[in-house]
Amino acid sequence: MSESLYQEIILDHYRNPHHKGLRDPYDVEVHHVNPTCGDEVTLRVKVAGGLVQDVSYEGQGCSISQASTSVMTDLVIGKPVDEALQTGEAFLALMQSRGQLEPDEDVLEDGIAFAGVSRYPARVKCALLGWMAWKDATAQAVTTGEAAP
Protein backbone atom coordinates (compact mmCIF):
# COMPACT_ATOMS: atom_id res chain seq x y z
CA MET A 1 0.00 0.00 0.00
CA SER A 2 1.01 3.58 -0.73
CA GLU A 3 4.57 2.76 -1.69
CA SER A 4 5.04 6.15 -3.35
CA LEU A 5 3.91 8.09 -0.31
CA TYR A 6 4.68 5.90 2.67
CA GLN A 7 8.33 5.08 1.98
CA GLU A 8 9.93 2.69 4.44
CA ILE A 9 12.20 5.53 5.65
CA ILE A 10 9.16 7.58 6.57
CA LEU A 11 7.55 4.72 8.43
CA ASP A 12 10.81 4.09 10.30
CA HIS A 13 11.07 7.67 11.48
CA TYR A 14 7.37 7.65 12.38
CA ARG A 15 7.74 4.51 14.50
CA ASN A 16 11.07 5.52 16.02
CA PRO A 17 11.33 9.29 15.97
CA HIS A 18 14.75 10.81 16.53
CA HIS A 19 15.47 13.47 19.14
CA LYS A 20 11.88 13.43 20.40
CA GLY A 21 10.96 14.82 23.81
CA LEU A 22 11.39 18.33 25.16
CA ARG A 23 14.87 19.07 26.56
CA ASP A 24 16.69 21.80 28.43
CA PRO A 25 18.51 24.02 27.87
CA TYR A 26 16.78 25.94 25.10
CA ASP A 27 16.56 29.54 23.85
CA VAL A 28 13.10 29.57 22.35
CA GLU A 29 10.02 27.36 22.44
CA VAL A 30 7.26 27.62 19.83
CA HIS A 31 3.91 25.91 19.34
CA HIS A 32 2.66 25.40 15.79
CA VAL A 33 -0.69 24.04 14.68
CA ASN A 34 -1.99 22.91 11.32
CA PRO A 35 -5.56 24.11 11.66
CA THR A 36 -6.95 21.99 8.85
CA CYS A 37 -5.96 18.68 10.42
CA GLY A 38 -5.29 19.49 14.05
CA ASP A 39 -1.66 18.40 13.95
CA GLU A 40 0.51 20.26 16.42
CA VAL A 41 4.08 20.48 17.56
CA THR A 42 5.83 22.13 20.48
CA LEU A 43 9.45 22.70 19.58
CA ARG A 44 12.55 24.08 21.34
CA VAL A 45 15.83 25.27 19.87
CA LYS A 46 19.18 25.99 21.40
CA VAL A 47 21.55 28.02 19.25
CA ALA A 48 25.11 28.91 20.22
CA GLY A 49 28.17 30.04 18.35
CA GLY A 50 26.26 30.09 15.08
CA LEU A 51 25.45 26.40 15.49
CA VAL A 52 22.18 24.60 16.00
CA GLN A 53 23.03 22.99 19.31
CA ASP A 54 19.78 21.17 19.92
CA VAL A 55 16.24 20.80 18.68
CA SER A 56 13.72 18.97 20.81
CA TYR A 57 9.98 18.55 20.37
CA GLU A 58 6.71 17.00 21.37
CA GLY A 59 3.71 16.75 19.14
CA GLN A 60 0.87 14.80 17.73
CA GLY A 61 0.09 14.26 14.14
CA CYS A 62 0.10 11.97 11.18
CA SER A 63 3.00 9.82 10.05
CA ILE A 64 4.16 12.44 7.58
CA SER A 65 4.34 15.31 10.05
CA GLN A 66 5.96 13.18 12.75
CA ALA A 67 8.51 11.55 10.46
CA SER A 68 9.36 14.81 8.78
CA THR A 69 10.05 16.48 12.11
CA SER A 70 12.28 13.58 13.09
CA VAL A 71 14.22 13.79 9.82
CA MET A 72 14.51 17.54 10.27
CA THR A 73 16.23 17.19 13.64
CA ASP A 74 18.76 14.82 12.09
CA LEU A 75 19.45 17.34 9.36
CA VAL A 76 19.85 20.49 11.42
CA ILE A 77 21.28 19.54 14.81
CA GLY A 78 24.97 20.31 14.94
CA LYS A 79 24.94 22.28 11.69
CA PRO A 80 25.78 25.97 11.29
CA VAL A 81 22.49 27.90 11.40
CA ASP A 82 22.99 29.24 7.85
CA GLU A 83 23.56 25.85 6.40
CA ALA A 84 20.60 24.38 8.29
CA LEU A 85 18.36 27.13 6.97
CA GLN A 86 19.55 26.35 3.44
CA THR A 87 18.68 22.71 3.99
CA GLY A 88 15.25 23.88 5.10
CA GLU A 89 14.89 25.85 1.86
CA ALA A 90 15.87 22.80 -0.14
CA PHE A 91 13.22 20.74 1.66
CA LEU A 92 10.61 23.44 1.09
CA ALA A 93 11.47 23.56 -2.61
CA LEU A 94 11.11 19.77 -2.81
CA MET A 95 7.72 19.92 -1.12
CA GLN A 96 6.45 22.57 -3.51
CA SER A 97 7.73 20.74 -6.58
CA ARG A 98 4.63 18.59 -7.17
CA GLY A 99 6.85 15.66 -7.96
CA GLN A 100 8.90 17.61 -10.51
CA LEU A 101 12.14 17.92 -8.54
CA GLU A 102 14.89 15.32 -8.18
CA PRO A 103 15.98 15.65 -4.55
CA ASP A 104 19.70 15.89 -3.69
CA GLU A 105 20.52 13.10 -1.25
CA ASP A 106 23.74 14.82 -0.17
CA VAL A 107 21.71 17.74 1.13
CA LEU A 108 18.47 16.11 2.30
CA GLU A 109 19.63 12.63 3.34
CA ASP A 110 16.53 10.76 4.65
CA GLY A 111 14.51 13.80 3.57
CA ILE A 112 14.52 12.53 0.01
CA ALA A 113 11.94 9.98 1.06
CA PHE A 114 9.42 12.83 1.12
CA ALA A 115 9.76 13.53 -2.60
CA GLY A 116 6.57 11.54 -3.18
CA VAL A 117 4.64 13.64 -0.65
CA SER A 118 4.98 16.65 -2.93
CA ARG A 119 2.51 14.97 -5.29
CA TYR A 120 -0.12 15.05 -2.53
CA PRO A 121 -0.83 18.76 -1.98
CA ALA A 122 -3.08 18.02 0.98
CA ARG A 123 -0.12 16.41 2.78
CA VAL A 124 2.54 19.00 2.01
CA LYS A 125 1.50 21.05 5.01
CA CYS A 126 1.97 17.97 7.19
CA ALA A 127 5.52 17.51 5.96
CA LEU A 128 6.30 21.17 6.60
CA LEU A 129 4.82 21.52 10.09
CA GLY A 130 8.00 20.69 12.02
CA TRP A 131 10.23 22.57 9.62
CA MET A 132 8.16 25.72 9.87
CA ALA A 133 8.17 25.54 13.66
CA TRP A 134 11.92 25.08 13.66
CA LYS A 135 12.48 27.97 11.24
CA ASP A 136 10.29 30.23 13.33
CA ALA A 137 12.02 29.28 16.58
CA THR A 138 15.47 29.63 15.07
CA ALA A 139 14.69 33.07 13.66
CA GLN A 140 13.55 34.13 17.12
CA ALA A 141 16.60 32.61 18.78
CA VAL A 142 18.97 34.35 16.39
CA THR A 143 17.24 37.71 16.81
CA THR A 144 17.19 37.35 20.58
CA GLY A 145 20.83 36.29 20.57
CA GLU A 146 21.82 39.30 18.53
CA ALA A 147 19.72 41.61 20.63
CA ALA A 148 21.33 40.31 23.80
CA PRO A 149 24.49 42.16 24.82
Partner: protein, 422 residues
Amino acid sequence: MTSLLAATTYDVAAVRADFPVLAREVNGRPLVYLDNASSSHKPRQVLDAEREFVEQHYSNVHRGVHTLSQEATDAYEAARERVARFLHAPDAREVVFTKNATEAYNLVAYSFGNAKAGSRFALGPGDEVCVTEMEHHSNLVPWQMLCERTGATLRWIPLTDGGRLDLTDLDTLVNERTKVLAFVHVSNILGTTNPVDVLVARAKQVGALTLLDGAQSAPHQPVDVAALDVDFFVLTGHKMLAPSGIGVLWGRRELLDVMPPFLGGGSMIEVVQMAGSTYAPSPERFEAGTPVISQAVALAAACDYLDDLGLERVHAHEQLLTARLIEGIRGLDGVQVIGPDSMHLRGAAVSFAIEGVHPHDVGQSLDELGIAVRVGHHCAAPVCRRYGVPATTRASSYLYNTEGEIDALLEGITTVQRFWSR
Protein backbone atom coordinates in the same frame (compact mmCIF):
# COMPACT_ATOMS: atom_id res chain seq x y z
CA MET B 1 -24.45 -9.25 9.42
CA THR B 2 -28.21 -8.67 9.59
CA SER B 3 -30.04 -5.68 8.23
CA LEU B 4 -31.87 -3.53 10.73
CA LEU B 5 -34.31 -2.39 8.09
CA ALA B 6 -36.16 -3.76 5.12
CA ALA B 7 -34.24 -3.94 1.86
CA THR B 8 -34.03 -0.91 -0.40
CA THR B 9 -37.08 -0.47 -2.53
CA TYR B 10 -35.44 1.23 -5.48
CA ASP B 11 -32.94 -0.02 -7.98
CA VAL B 12 -29.58 1.21 -6.73
CA ALA B 13 -27.77 -0.07 -9.82
CA ALA B 14 -30.04 2.02 -12.02
CA VAL B 15 -29.42 5.04 -9.85
CA ARG B 16 -25.67 4.50 -10.03
CA ALA B 17 -25.83 4.54 -13.80
CA ASP B 18 -26.96 8.17 -13.61
CA PHE B 19 -23.65 9.18 -12.01
CA PRO B 20 -20.77 8.81 -14.47
CA VAL B 21 -18.07 9.31 -11.83
CA LEU B 22 -19.17 6.17 -9.99
CA ALA B 23 -17.77 4.14 -12.87
CA ARG B 24 -14.32 5.57 -12.27
CA GLU B 25 -11.33 3.70 -10.95
CA VAL B 26 -9.08 5.31 -8.34
CA ASN B 27 -5.63 3.88 -7.83
CA GLY B 28 -6.61 0.92 -9.91
CA ARG B 29 -9.63 0.08 -7.77
CA PRO B 30 -13.31 0.89 -8.34
CA LEU B 31 -14.14 4.19 -6.68
CA VAL B 32 -16.03 3.80 -3.40
CA TYR B 33 -17.32 7.29 -2.72
CA LEU B 34 -18.22 7.70 0.94
CA ASP B 35 -17.61 11.44 1.26
CA ASN B 36 -21.18 12.51 0.64
CA ALA B 37 -21.53 14.59 3.79
CA SER B 38 -18.89 16.81 2.24
CA SER B 39 -20.48 16.93 -1.19
CA SER B 40 -22.52 14.62 -3.37
CA HIS B 41 -22.13 13.80 -7.03
CA LYS B 42 -24.64 15.00 -9.59
CA PRO B 43 -26.78 12.82 -11.82
CA ARG B 44 -27.05 13.23 -15.60
CA GLN B 45 -30.60 14.46 -15.22
CA VAL B 46 -29.50 17.48 -13.21
CA LEU B 47 -26.59 18.30 -15.50
CA ASP B 48 -28.78 17.87 -18.58
CA ALA B 49 -31.48 20.16 -17.19
CA GLU B 50 -28.94 22.89 -16.49
CA ARG B 51 -27.28 22.51 -19.86
CA GLU B 52 -30.53 22.51 -21.80
CA PHE B 53 -31.52 25.69 -20.01
CA VAL B 54 -28.17 27.38 -20.64
CA GLU B 55 -28.02 26.36 -24.27
CA GLN B 56 -31.57 27.32 -25.20
CA HIS B 57 -33.19 29.67 -22.68
CA TYR B 58 -30.45 31.53 -20.87
CA SER B 59 -30.50 35.23 -20.17
CA ASN B 60 -30.34 37.43 -17.13
CA VAL B 61 -33.59 37.38 -15.18
CA HIS B 62 -36.14 39.83 -13.80
CA ARG B 63 -35.24 42.87 -15.80
CA GLY B 64 -36.06 42.18 -19.40
CA VAL B 65 -39.08 42.04 -21.66
CA HIS B 66 -37.42 40.02 -24.42
CA THR B 67 -38.30 36.37 -24.92
CA LEU B 68 -35.13 34.78 -23.53
CA SER B 69 -35.32 36.98 -20.49
CA GLN B 70 -38.90 35.92 -19.89
CA GLU B 71 -38.04 32.26 -20.37
CA ALA B 72 -35.10 32.54 -17.99
CA THR B 73 -37.20 34.37 -15.41
CA ASP B 74 -39.92 31.74 -15.70
CA ALA B 75 -37.39 28.95 -15.20
CA TYR B 76 -35.79 30.71 -12.24
CA GLU B 77 -39.10 31.40 -10.53
CA ALA B 78 -40.32 27.89 -11.29
CA ALA B 79 -37.19 26.65 -9.50
CA ARG B 80 -38.16 28.73 -6.49
CA GLU B 81 -41.59 27.10 -6.51
CA ARG B 82 -40.03 23.68 -6.90
CA VAL B 83 -37.80 24.19 -3.87
CA ALA B 84 -40.74 25.50 -1.86
CA ARG B 85 -42.62 22.30 -2.70
CA PHE B 86 -39.56 20.23 -1.77
CA LEU B 87 -39.55 21.87 1.66
CA HIS B 88 -43.34 21.88 1.99
CA ALA B 89 -43.13 25.64 2.39
CA PRO B 90 -46.46 27.42 2.23
CA ASP B 91 -45.21 30.18 -0.08
CA ALA B 92 -42.52 30.20 -2.80
CA ARG B 93 -41.64 33.76 -1.87
CA GLU B 94 -40.21 32.37 1.35
CA VAL B 95 -37.40 30.75 -0.64
CA VAL B 96 -34.24 32.86 -1.02
CA PHE B 97 -31.45 31.58 -3.24
CA THR B 98 -27.91 32.03 -1.90
CA LYS B 99 -24.56 30.71 -3.07
CA ASN B 100 -24.32 28.08 -0.34
CA ALA B 101 -25.57 27.37 3.15
CA THR B 102 -22.84 29.54 4.62
CA GLU B 103 -24.13 32.65 2.89
CA ALA B 104 -27.58 31.92 4.29
CA TYR B 105 -26.43 31.95 7.94
CA ASN B 106 -24.44 35.09 7.28
CA LEU B 107 -27.46 36.65 5.59
CA VAL B 108 -29.55 36.19 8.70
CA ALA B 109 -26.75 37.21 11.07
CA TYR B 110 -25.87 40.35 9.11
CA SER B 111 -29.53 41.26 8.66
CA PHE B 112 -29.87 41.17 12.41
CA GLY B 113 -26.74 43.29 12.70
CA ASN B 114 -28.22 45.81 10.28
CA ALA B 115 -31.44 46.16 12.24
CA LYS B 116 -32.16 49.48 13.88
CA ALA B 117 -32.43 49.58 17.64
CA GLY B 118 -35.93 48.65 18.71
CA SER B 119 -36.51 46.33 15.77
CA ARG B 120 -37.29 42.74 16.66
CA PHE B 121 -34.06 41.71 14.94
CA ALA B 122 -31.78 44.20 16.67
CA LEU B 123 -29.16 42.81 19.04
CA GLY B 124 -27.07 44.51 21.67
CA PRO B 125 -25.28 43.96 24.96
CA GLY B 126 -27.46 41.85 27.22
CA ASP B 127 -29.00 39.97 24.32
CA GLU B 128 -27.97 36.40 23.64
CA VAL B 129 -27.55 34.06 20.72
CA CYS B 130 -27.57 30.35 21.41
CA VAL B 131 -25.99 27.65 19.27
CA THR B 132 -24.75 24.15 20.03
CA GLU B 133 -21.29 22.73 20.50
CA MET B 134 -21.82 20.51 17.43
CA GLU B 135 -22.38 23.32 14.93
CA HIS B 136 -20.60 23.40 11.62
CA HIS B 137 -18.27 26.44 11.55
CA SER B 138 -20.65 27.99 9.03
CA ASN B 139 -23.43 28.12 11.60
CA LEU B 140 -21.08 29.19 14.38
CA VAL B 141 -18.61 31.79 13.12
CA PRO B 142 -21.31 34.14 11.69
CA TRP B 143 -22.91 34.24 15.14
CA GLN B 144 -19.56 34.79 16.84
CA MET B 145 -18.96 37.69 14.46
CA LEU B 146 -22.45 39.07 15.04
CA CYS B 147 -21.95 38.96 18.80
CA GLU B 148 -18.59 40.66 18.42
CA ARG B 149 -20.14 43.44 16.34
CA THR B 150 -23.14 43.98 18.57
CA GLY B 151 -21.91 43.17 22.05
CA ALA B 152 -24.41 40.34 22.39
CA THR B 153 -23.36 37.13 24.17
CA LEU B 154 -22.91 33.76 22.50
CA ARG B 155 -23.97 30.71 24.46
CA TRP B 156 -23.97 27.08 23.44
CA ILE B 157 -25.58 23.81 24.37
CA PRO B 158 -22.85 21.30 25.30
CA LEU B 159 -22.52 17.67 24.26
CA THR B 160 -22.86 14.43 26.14
CA ASP B 161 -20.14 11.80 25.99
CA GLY B 162 -22.40 9.86 23.66
CA GLY B 163 -22.45 12.57 21.01
CA ARG B 164 -25.82 14.13 21.75
CA LEU B 165 -26.94 17.53 22.95
CA ASP B 166 -26.82 17.78 26.71
CA LEU B 167 -30.14 19.49 27.39
CA THR B 168 -29.77 19.56 31.18
CA ASP B 169 -29.34 23.32 31.25
CA LEU B 170 -31.51 24.11 28.25
CA ASP B 171 -33.75 26.44 30.22
CA THR B 172 -30.79 28.50 31.38
CA LEU B 173 -29.03 28.53 28.04
CA VAL B 174 -32.16 29.53 26.16
CA ASN B 175 -33.76 32.25 28.21
CA GLU B 176 -35.63 35.54 28.01
CA ARG B 177 -32.52 37.25 26.66
CA THR B 178 -32.11 34.77 23.80
CA LYS B 179 -32.89 36.35 20.43
CA VAL B 180 -31.90 33.45 18.20
CA LEU B 181 -31.44 29.74 18.67
CA ALA B 182 -29.47 28.40 15.71
CA PHE B 183 -28.78 24.69 15.58
CA VAL B 184 -28.03 21.83 13.30
CA HIS B 185 -30.70 19.34 12.31
CA VAL B 186 -28.32 16.43 11.60
CA SER B 187 -24.67 16.81 12.56
CA ASN B 188 -22.16 16.44 9.75
CA ILE B 189 -19.48 15.06 12.08
CA LEU B 190 -21.35 13.03 14.69
CA GLY B 191 -24.33 11.98 12.63
CA THR B 192 -26.61 12.97 15.50
CA THR B 193 -30.18 13.96 14.69
CA ASN B 194 -31.27 16.65 17.11
CA PRO B 195 -34.68 16.87 18.83
CA VAL B 196 -36.02 19.86 16.91
CA ASP B 197 -39.33 19.80 18.74
CA VAL B 198 -37.77 20.15 22.19
CA LEU B 199 -35.54 23.03 21.15
CA VAL B 200 -38.25 24.84 19.21
CA ALA B 201 -40.67 24.50 22.11
CA ARG B 202 -38.17 26.14 24.47
CA ALA B 203 -37.37 28.90 21.96
CA LYS B 204 -41.06 29.66 21.58
CA GLN B 205 -41.48 29.91 25.34
CA VAL B 206 -38.94 32.71 25.45
CA GLY B 207 -39.73 34.30 22.09
CA ALA B 208 -36.41 33.44 20.42
CA LEU B 209 -36.27 32.96 16.67
CA THR B 210 -35.09 29.54 15.50
CA LEU B 211 -32.78 28.74 12.61
CA LEU B 212 -32.36 25.12 11.63
CA ASP B 213 -29.25 24.07 9.70
CA GLY B 214 -30.61 21.50 7.28
CA ALA B 215 -27.44 21.06 5.22
CA GLN B 216 -27.28 17.39 6.29
CA SER B 217 -30.99 16.68 6.62
CA ALA B 218 -32.59 18.04 3.45
CA PRO B 219 -30.54 15.75 1.15
CA HIS B 220 -31.40 12.65 3.10
CA GLN B 221 -34.93 12.73 4.48
CA PRO B 222 -38.24 14.47 3.81
CA VAL B 223 -38.30 17.96 5.27
CA ASP B 224 -41.47 19.84 6.12
CA VAL B 225 -40.58 23.31 7.34
CA ALA B 226 -44.12 23.98 8.45
CA ALA B 227 -44.19 20.84 10.59
CA LEU B 228 -40.73 21.56 11.99
CA ASP B 229 -42.18 24.90 13.06
CA VAL B 230 -38.84 26.74 12.82
CA ASP B 231 -38.43 30.31 11.63
CA PHE B 232 -35.53 29.74 9.23
CA PHE B 233 -34.27 26.64 7.48
CA VAL B 234 -31.08 26.39 5.44
CA LEU B 235 -29.89 23.89 2.86
CA THR B 236 -27.02 23.72 0.39
CA GLY B 237 -27.40 22.41 -3.16
CA HIS B 238 -24.10 20.62 -3.66
CA LYS B 239 -24.86 18.06 -0.95
CA MET B 240 -28.16 17.10 -2.59
CA LEU B 241 -27.27 16.33 -6.21
CA ALA B 242 -27.15 19.96 -7.40
CA PRO B 243 -24.04 21.84 -8.53
CA SER B 244 -21.84 23.87 -6.25
CA GLY B 245 -22.79 27.54 -6.05
CA ILE B 246 -26.35 27.37 -4.73
CA GLY B 247 -27.94 27.31 -1.32
CA VAL B 248 -31.34 28.15 0.08
CA LEU B 249 -32.57 30.20 2.97
CA TRP B 250 -36.17 29.50 3.76
CA GLY B 251 -37.78 31.92 6.17
CA ARG B 252 -41.28 32.69 7.35
CA ARG B 253 -42.79 35.26 5.03
CA GLU B 254 -43.72 37.65 7.84
CA LEU B 255 -40.10 37.67 9.03
CA LEU B 256 -38.44 38.02 5.64
CA ASP B 257 -40.81 40.82 4.78
CA VAL B 258 -39.51 42.99 7.60
CA MET B 259 -35.92 41.80 7.95
CA PRO B 260 -33.32 44.39 6.92
CA PRO B 261 -31.37 43.66 3.74
CA PHE B 262 -27.90 42.12 3.75
CA LEU B 263 -26.13 42.39 0.37
CA GLY B 264 -26.84 45.66 -1.44
CA GLY B 265 -27.02 45.92 -5.21
CA GLY B 266 -29.11 45.36 -8.30
CA SER B 267 -32.56 43.76 -8.05
CA MET B 268 -32.87 44.10 -4.29
CA ILE B 269 -33.89 47.72 -4.51
CA GLU B 270 -37.08 49.67 -4.97
CA VAL B 271 -36.06 53.30 -5.51
CA VAL B 272 -32.39 54.22 -5.76
CA GLN B 273 -31.22 57.77 -5.39
CA MET B 274 -27.63 58.78 -4.87
CA ALA B 275 -28.46 59.87 -1.35
CA GLY B 276 -30.17 56.66 -0.33
CA SER B 277 -32.33 53.76 -1.39
CA THR B 278 -35.41 51.79 -0.49
CA TYR B 279 -35.59 48.04 -0.84
CA ALA B 280 -37.74 45.49 -2.61
CA PRO B 281 -39.82 42.95 -0.70
CA SER B 282 -38.43 39.45 -0.12
CA PRO B 283 -37.20 37.30 -1.73
CA GLU B 284 -35.74 39.90 -4.11
CA ARG B 285 -34.51 41.97 -1.17
CA PHE B 286 -32.09 39.22 -0.29
CA GLU B 287 -30.93 38.35 -3.80
CA ALA B 288 -28.69 41.25 -4.78
CA GLY B 289 -27.06 41.20 -8.19
CA THR B 290 -27.39 38.59 -10.86
CA PRO B 291 -28.61 35.51 -9.03
CA VAL B 292 -27.43 31.92 -9.36
CA ILE B 293 -29.73 31.36 -12.31
CA SER B 294 -28.75 28.11 -13.98
CA GLN B 295 -27.82 26.61 -10.61
CA ALA B 296 -31.38 27.22 -9.42
CA VAL B 297 -32.67 25.39 -12.47
CA ALA B 298 -30.31 22.53 -11.65
CA LEU B 299 -31.40 22.51 -8.00
CA ALA B 300 -35.02 22.19 -9.12
CA ALA B 301 -34.01 19.19 -11.22
CA ALA B 302 -32.26 17.74 -8.17
CA CYS B 303 -35.49 18.14 -6.18
CA ASP B 304 -37.28 16.26 -8.97
CA TYR B 305 -34.71 13.50 -8.86
CA LEU B 306 -34.98 13.13 -5.09
CA ASP B 307 -38.75 13.33 -4.97
CA ASP B 308 -39.11 10.89 -7.86
CA LEU B 309 -36.98 8.40 -5.98
CA GLY B 310 -38.76 9.30 -2.76
CA LEU B 311 -36.90 10.69 0.21
CA GLU B 312 -38.46 8.15 2.54
CA ARG B 313 -36.90 5.43 0.44
CA VAL B 314 -33.58 7.24 0.21
CA HIS B 315 -33.61 7.60 3.96
CA ALA B 316 -34.45 3.94 4.49
CA HIS B 317 -31.65 2.92 2.15
CA GLU B 318 -29.11 5.04 3.97
CA GLN B 319 -30.25 3.84 7.37
CA LEU B 320 -29.62 0.33 6.12
CA LEU B 321 -26.10 1.21 5.05
CA THR B 322 -25.34 3.18 8.17
CA ALA B 323 -26.54 0.39 10.41
CA ARG B 324 -24.35 -2.05 8.50
CA LEU B 325 -21.36 0.22 8.94
CA ILE B 326 -21.90 0.80 12.65
CA GLU B 327 -22.49 -2.87 13.29
CA GLY B 328 -19.39 -3.68 11.28
CA ILE B 329 -17.24 -1.23 13.20
CA ARG B 330 -18.54 -2.65 16.44
CA GLY B 331 -17.15 -5.98 15.33
CA LEU B 332 -13.64 -4.59 14.82
CA ASP B 333 -11.01 -4.29 17.53
CA GLY B 334 -9.40 -0.90 17.97
CA VAL B 335 -11.99 1.05 16.01
CA GLN B 336 -14.40 3.36 17.73
CA VAL B 337 -17.37 5.38 16.56
CA ILE B 338 -17.26 9.03 17.61
CA GLY B 339 -20.90 10.00 17.98
CA PRO B 340 -24.01 7.91 18.54
CA ASP B 341 -23.09 4.29 17.96
CA SER B 342 -26.64 3.08 17.51
CA MET B 343 -29.23 3.85 14.85
CA HIS B 344 -31.40 5.79 17.26
CA LEU B 345 -31.89 9.31 15.85
CA ARG B 346 -28.88 9.46 13.59
CA GLY B 347 -28.04 10.31 10.00
CA ALA B 348 -25.63 8.87 7.48
CA ALA B 349 -22.36 10.45 8.64
CA VAL B 350 -20.22 8.10 10.75
CA SER B 351 -17.02 9.39 12.34
CA PHE B 352 -14.60 6.89 13.76
CA ALA B 353 -11.09 6.55 15.14
CA ILE B 354 -8.63 3.74 14.52
CA GLU B 355 -6.40 3.24 17.50
CA GLY B 356 -2.81 4.17 16.76
CA VAL B 357 -3.39 5.46 13.26
CA HIS B 358 -3.76 9.14 12.58
CA PRO B 359 -6.91 9.99 10.56
CA HIS B 360 -4.77 11.53 7.83
CA ASP B 361 -3.02 8.24 7.39
CA VAL B 362 -6.31 6.37 7.51
CA GLY B 363 -7.78 8.57 4.78
CA GLN B 364 -4.71 8.32 2.61
CA SER B 365 -4.45 4.59 3.01
CA LEU B 366 -8.14 4.08 2.21
CA ASP B 367 -7.69 6.25 -0.88
CA GLU B 368 -5.02 3.82 -2.03
CA LEU B 369 -7.81 1.25 -1.98
CA GLY B 370 -10.11 3.51 -4.00
CA ILE B 371 -12.19 4.42 -0.94
CA ALA B 372 -12.95 8.12 -0.52
CA VAL B 373 -13.66 9.21 3.05
CA ARG B 374 -13.06 12.57 4.66
CA VAL B 375 -10.52 13.18 7.41
CA GLY B 376 -10.05 16.27 9.52
CA HIS B 377 -12.25 18.30 11.82
CA HIS B 378 -15.06 18.48 9.25
CA CYS B 379 -15.52 22.18 9.97
CA ALA B 380 -16.57 21.32 13.49
CA ALA B 381 -13.32 21.75 15.38
CA PRO B 382 -15.02 22.21 18.78
CA VAL B 383 -16.45 18.71 18.46
CA CYS B 384 -12.97 17.24 17.99
CA ARG B 385 -11.77 19.20 20.99
CA ARG B 386 -14.77 17.96 23.00
CA TYR B 387 -13.88 14.33 22.31
CA GLY B 388 -10.14 14.80 22.63
CA VAL B 389 -9.21 13.87 19.08
CA PRO B 390 -7.24 16.01 16.62
CA ALA B 391 -9.48 14.88 13.78
CA THR B 392 -11.75 12.02 12.76
CA THR B 393 -12.21 9.78 9.78
CA ARG B 394 -15.74 10.09 8.45
CA ALA B 395 -17.64 7.85 6.07
CA SER B 396 -20.98 9.10 4.82
CA SER B 397 -23.22 7.31 2.38
CA TYR B 398 -25.88 8.52 0.00
CA LEU B 399 -28.57 7.18 -2.26
CA TYR B 400 -26.13 5.56 -4.70
CA ASN B 401 -23.99 3.65 -2.21
CA THR B 402 -24.30 -0.10 -1.80
CA GLU B 403 -23.92 -2.63 0.94
CA GLY B 404 -20.93 -3.92 -0.97
CA GLU B 405 -19.27 -0.53 -0.62
CA ILE B 406 -19.83 -0.54 3.13
CA ASP B 407 -18.25 -3.96 3.26
CA ALA B 408 -15.33 -2.67 1.16
CA LEU B 409 -14.81 0.10 3.69
CA LEU B 410 -14.89 -2.33 6.61
CA GLU B 411 -12.38 -4.53 4.85
CA GLY B 412 -10.33 -1.43 4.04
CA ILE B 413 -10.23 -0.50 7.71
CA THR B 414 -8.80 -3.92 8.48
CA THR B 415 -6.18 -3.51 5.76
CA VAL B 416 -5.26 -0.11 7.14
CA GLN B 417 -4.90 -1.55 10.63
CA ARG B 418 -2.67 -4.28 9.28
CA PHE B 419 -0.45 -1.85 7.36
CA TRP B 420 -0.02 0.54 10.23
CA SER B 421 0.68 -2.09 12.87
CA ARG B 422 3.57 -3.63 10.96
